[in-house]
């Protein structure tokens, strides 16, 4: 889930298999290469 969007970039929080629940930068190559889709939930 995206937590921060600003001029520095996008941060998201997720449950990592190795590190547990953690906040990371979306712009990291690791995540960009594995990205499938983004969805805006209906509220």
């Amino acid at each position: 889930m995206v937590t921060v969007v600003d001029e520095e970039g996008v941060e998201f929080i997720h449950a990592s298999t190795s590190l547990g629940v953690i906040e990371n930068s979306f712009e990291a190559d690791y995540y960009l290469s594995r990205f499938i889709r983004a969805v805006r939930p209906k509220l």
């Binding site: 889930m1 995206v2 937590t3 921060v4 969007v5 600003d6 520095e8 996008v10 941060e11 998201f12 929080i13 997720h14 449950a15 990592s16 298999t17 190795s18 590190l19 547990g20 629940v21 953690i22 906040e23 979306f26 995540y31 290469s33 594995r34 990205f35 499938i36 889709r37 983004a38 969805v39 805006r40 939930p41 209906k42 509220l43």
Partner: protein, 187 residues
């Protein structure tokens, strides 16, 4: 008779006193050595419980440090280290530590509280199928964070991915769901 007895005693005492110096110097030498070592050891120790030249208990020191952490999320932190050289010269090194400020989310309303809920789970280990603080998977993190804000969302990732409208990666906003797959090489 009484006066004779009192005269004898001082002589005995004098004899004991005369015997003592024979054993005294060695004992005294070790005592002095121990004292010097103790003084050296104490002078080498960092004064852990000193703050602004005053003594504080360990509990007070912890409380003060905690107060500093809570009060000032300052962007820069300056560390000054002063070392006294043996000849009496004072060397001062100043280290400036630039701390990245915690990026605050620009989410509003319910999403802000959902993000706060999710951040409260930071550090929870990953457990496939887990839905508690003992361990949780990716979809459980979203489901619990939304549930705590009073919103029911699907439990499985597949259902969550179909629950909203697709968003372009360039138009992301806080609260959007991101879905990742296996590494490109394995696809």
């Amino acid at each position: 008779m009484q006066s004779e007895k009192t005269k004898v005693r001082p002589i005995a005492k004098a004899r004991i006193a005369a015997c003592r110096p024979v054993t005294n110097p060695t004992w005294q030498r070790y005592y002095g050595l121990a004292l010097v070592l103790l003084l050296l050891a104490s002078s080498c120790q960092r004064k852990l419980n000193q703050h602004n030249g005053r003594y504080y208990s360990a509990r007070d020191m912890a409380r003060m440090k905690h107060g500093q952490r809570v009060a000032g999320p300052s962007a820069t932190k300056t560390k000054t280290k002063t070392t006294t050289a043996g000849s009496g010269g004072v060397a001062t090194t100043t280290k400036v530590v630039i701390k990245r400020p915690l990026r605050t989310g620009n989410a509003t309303g319910v999403l802000a509280s959902v993000i706060d809920n999710a951040r409260a789970y930071q550090g929870t280990p990953y457990l496939f199928g887990g839905t508690t603080r003992m361990g949780m998977d990716c979809s459980a993190l979203l489901q619990l964070s939304f549930a705590e804000a009073g919103i029911t969302i699907p439990r499985s990732s597949n259902e969550q991915a179909a629950w909203g409208d697709p968003v372009k990666p360039t138009e992301l906003r806080p609260g959007d769901f991101l879905f990742f797959g296996a590494s490109p090489a394995r696809r």
